[in-house]
């Protein structure tokens, strides 16, 4: 086990998660809270929502912000570890520049591809079955990642056609959609939310990629020095 590599991924993920919390507080979080005022104004507008009386939920204010920070840190570390796993598996070189390229690829895989079928969703907006959407999301992310890796590492026309087929397949199949798009949330809020989440996610992925590139290349040099000593 390469402990320095794992530590580098953890540090990059934690810093990127903290950055995401600051970036989201500009537009994304205020828009979520604004949408909730419309969601709560209409009783049972969101039947799939699981916030019943018994379930714990953070109180609005600092408690909710704290738990969002905590979840962002976990998500930052999760994405950082997943990128690190792929980089190690393919034995790829690492530097700040390489990290930024991996971050851009992460944005395409985890944000652009699933968003193409399932646009960013505000509380109260109509959406298809949750489990079906989660399955489609995971399938789309996996297929897009596979397709992009083929593009990056295989130059023959047959492989590239196969890569394109993987990227396109989930969109030909189609994402699960709600029976009706009727929603108490105004359309302009939804449009603002799309731009806000895409811009914020792009910044998050570039920051994560850059940090991961920086810390991983340092960790790799340290592992190299340790391997030569021992």
């Amino acid at each position: 086990m390469l402990t320095r590599v794992i530590l580098a991924a953890l540090v990059a993920g934690l810093l990127a998660g903290a950055f995401a919390t600051a970036a989201q507080s500009v537009r994304v979080i205020p828009l979520i809270h604004q949408a909730e005022t419309y969601e709560n104004a209409v009783p049972h507008a969101d039947a799939g929502h699981s916030e019943d009386e018994q379930a714990w939920a953070p109180r609005d204010g600092w408690q909710r912000t704290f738990f969002t920070l905590l979840s962002n840190l976990v998500v930052g570390v999760a994405f950082s570890l997943i990128l690190t796993a792929v980089i190690l598996l393919l034995n790829q070189p690492m530097s700040l520049q390489h990290g930024l390229a991996w971050g851009a690829a992460g944005f395409a895989v985890f944000v652009l591809a699933p968003n193409f079928g399932l646009p960013p969703e505000l509380p109260g907006m109509a959406a298809g079955d949750l489990v079906a959407r989660q399955i489609w999301w995971v399938a789309t992310v996996t297929l897009t990642a596979g397709g992009l890796l083929i593009f990056a590492f295989r130059r023959s026309i047959v492989w590239m056609l196969a890569g394109a087929a993987l990227v396109i397949a989930p969109h030909v199949y189609g994402a699960p959609q709600p029976a009706s798009h009727e929603s108490p949330v105004p359309a302009n809020l939804a449009a603002e939310f799309v731009i806000a989440t895409v811009v914020t996610s792009a910044l998050f992925w570039l920051v994560l990629g850059g940090l991961l590139g920086h810390f991983l290349s340092r960790a790799i040099r340290e592992e190299e020095a340790a391997a030569q000593d021992g």
Partner: protein, 60 residues
């Protein structure tokens, strides 16, 4: 060649150490993503609610 080495680094260590670390990072990363963005537990959903919306994972 020197310039490339200064800018980037690949792991000189054994393939088995590299692959073990990749497996650990992959499993740990996917597990964390599952709990933060996909688990159906009400408490987990409510605690991670705003993050799920922000990273555009399907939330509810």
């Amino acid at each position: 060649m020197l310039a490339t080495q200064a800018l980037s680094a690949t792991l000189p260590v054994s393939a088995s150490a590299r692959l073990t670390t990749a497996l650990f990072a992959g499993v740990f990363g996917v597990a964390l993503l599952y709990f933060a963005a996909f688990a159906h537990s009400d408490a987990l959903h409510n605690g991670t609610h705003d993050t799920r919306h922000a990273i555009v994972a399907p939330c509810h």
